[in-house]
Point group: C2
Chain length 423, copies 2
């Protein structure tokens, strides 16, 4: 390494820097996530972004497994930057299964990494809000999670009309595939292939299905199912006694009570890419479908068994920080997150520094945000900096103010002034 | 990989899991950090934990460089998990030097990794609160950062008497070493060697200094300096016109105005291990010195130049999440972070589920934390779960409550009950 060669000031490819103006959006999203999770009684948990490679490979679908950042530590341990939080959650729950009281409602804000090609502005890391309910078999779990996600979107300022949550049940698809004569052994491959719809052509999907061993007739039947539009059409195929359909109907009925029915839509083409979903699955999109999915998730009743834990039903949601900010900026404008608050305090000569510092101390101890200027400034200099700052109010202290024992607190937007005591 | 072999449920060695009870402490610390940073007008920033290896090696001391987790991505890029945030901050500032208004006051909560031997319960990752002021030459920067750190400690409940901030000035040490006839070329090595005091024996330090080329006389003089106890003793050696001493005196005088002078102590042995400090350095310890440093930092005026940016004065603080929680638990007790809040809502029969759900919805929309039970429970079952939960109040809805249109909200600690309307 040549110590005098110029270094790049860019972050590594695919990684993000957050300058203060970027943090306005990020905090808006993170704060809304935390607020909604707490309002719904979810408990916080977290784990290190570095996870054992074996755990991650054990449960993820093949595509995710190929995209894992992995490395060996100095003792030869196979480690990785997690691509998602669910395997870690399953590990943590399995480790304390006997001591935990189920159902658990847990949430986290987790950074996740995927080594993807840099198409369509995709980044290689993002933050993901995870809500999981573990140990509840009924759709009470699904609706609680969907309502919390809706509360999160409302808290960040997205109007209810701006998005739709598309819901399906993999168990319903499985019932329908079985009735079409497609054996259960083929279902996982069919799910993964059909999930690629819209990303690759139907011909390519058909080729994938044939490669898995389905004949032309079975492939045609698999595509036919995707033409189902309503629960009643699904009932006509699955039969009125279908348990998968009953679960969906109960979910839609509970959505009325939770007040989110206006945003819930049945969509048989929602399948989700991950291999481990067993029941209801869902994805939220902006209503105009201009962006990728805002969040997604579903029921994964066999995951704990897959990693060697006790059989435990579970539902989870993953909600990334990238798409929702694109949707919010598109709808509300880039500047919407800007917010003026607190006070900027400056002073004219070194003799007023003590008064300025004491005022800053008093205001801070009272809970206010105070940006104390670190050196003396001319009034013009100070007020020019004040207007460009994030402060709502400004106090500039000169010799006369100290003599009088009061200064003026000026609202920078309205120019209104109020007198405040010094000391 | 054998897909049926049992997996370990432990996190990778040196990495931490945070269960909800661990998050109580973590949130207490993180919330205090954010609150103090905002009160002092620091702006948030962040960057990915994955950083370019070259940037990290360029500025860190040798010891840190050996402890970096590094790996290649699939394109052969040399990447690393950052051991500290300062190089990344310097890179971000250098990248936008022309567009930023100085002085900057920025903060972040950053996860950092060091591959260390697992002695004394040290972990390989921790979170660090970073406060930095960039572009300010005077000790206004140092005192603002120290006062913000003190506000953070107060916000997390640590009494002022429980810790002391030990302050020194590397420039003072440099003046004194020069007066002892030790050439400036040796100073960096002397700083790093003397910083190891208490960790290795004085004989080992002397051996290190000799290996760097100091003779026995110079080694003895270096140790003599560490006997200096007060600023007046330092003045006797450095001369009354020492600029390094003047900076320290100004810092102690400003500490009076900020109200933190009771916690500030001059300590010539505080040097800090990192190579890039140029001026005032500081470390905070619990008063009884039972634990490692709570936070540390100092002035690093040449770092931006080192990575190829424009010369810019800077002061920074790093405050980890591990030691402070040890200190807090030792002082306040393990259970101090526990906090009961919000309402747990349950119901007796499926017929009351809708009323319970509607009540949860109303309370949540009013900003309350509501843990809605997901299935029916017997009263005994519900109240046993309620007592074990983090909820302060409980509402259990039976058929009579729905008939009357009101339910009882019970404070679980005082057993006081108040009537609340259903719907």
């Amino acid at each position: 390494m040549n110590p005098s060669a110029p270094l790049s000031f860019e972050p590594p490819r695919g990684m993000r820097d957050f300058y203060p103006e970027d943090m306005l959006w990020r905090n808006r999203v993170f704060d809304a996530w935390r607020q909604a999770a707490v309002a719904f009684g979810f408990q916080p948990y977290d784990a290190c972004v570095v996870e054992s490679l074996e755990l991650l490979q054990r449960k993820s679908g093949e595509e995710v497994s190929e995209q894992i950042y992995h490395f060996e530590d100095k003792s030869g341990r196979h480690l990785a930057l997690r691509p998602e939080m669910t395997p870690t959650l399953a590990r943590m729950v399995a480790a304390r299964h006997g001591q935990l009281t189920f159902p658990l409602k847990w949430f986290t804000l987790a950074q996740c990494f995927r080594y993807e090609r840099m198409t369509r502005g995709r980044k290689r890391e993002h933050y993901q809000w995870n809500l999981d309910i573990i140990g509840e078999e009924s759709v009470s779990a699904e609706i609680e999670i969907l309502a919390a996600a809706a509360a999160g979107l409302r808290a960040m300022g997205l109007p209810d009309a701006a998005y739709r949550i598309r819901v399906n049940n993999r168990a319903l698809l499985a019932e329908l595939l079985a009735k079409s004569g497609i054996d259960a052994a083929y279902h996982p491959a069919v799910f993964l292939a059909l999930d690629k719809r819209g990303k690759i052509s139907d011909d390519e999907i058909a080729a994938l299905l044939k490669a898995e061993g389905l004949d032309s007739d079975a492939v045609a039947k698999a595509f036919e199912l995707l033409a189902v539009q309503t629960l009643d059409q699904a009932a006509a195929l699955a039969g009125a006694d279908s348990p998968a359909l009953a679960a969906l109907r109960e979910l839609f009925s509970l959505a009325e009570v939770y007040g989110i029915a206006d945003r819930l839509v049945f969509d048989i083409s929602v399948i989700r890419g991950l291999a481990y979903y067993t029941g209801i699955v869902f994805e939220a999109f902006d209503t105009e479908r201009k962006f990728r999915a805002i969040f997604g998730g579903g029921r994964y009743d066999s995951l704990l068994t897959m990693i060697g834990g006790a059989p435990t039903p579970a539902v989870g949601l993953g909600f990334g920080d990238v798409v929702v900010v694109e949707v919010l900026k598109d709808l509300l404008g880039e500047a919407a997150a800007a917010e003026k608050r607190g006070v900027i305090v400056g002073y004219m000569f070194p003799e007023q520094r003590e008064a300025a510092t004491r005022l800053a101390r008093t205001l801070r101890e009272a809970g206010e945000t105070v940006d104390l200027q670190l050196g003396r400034q001319k009034p013009k200099q100070f007020f020019s900096r004040a207007s460009a700052s994030t402060a709502a109010d400004a106090v500039f202290i000169g010799p006369d103010d100290v003599a009088r024992g009061t200064a003026k607190r000026k609202n920078l937007a309205t120019r209104e002034e109020t007198e405040i005591p010094l000391n």
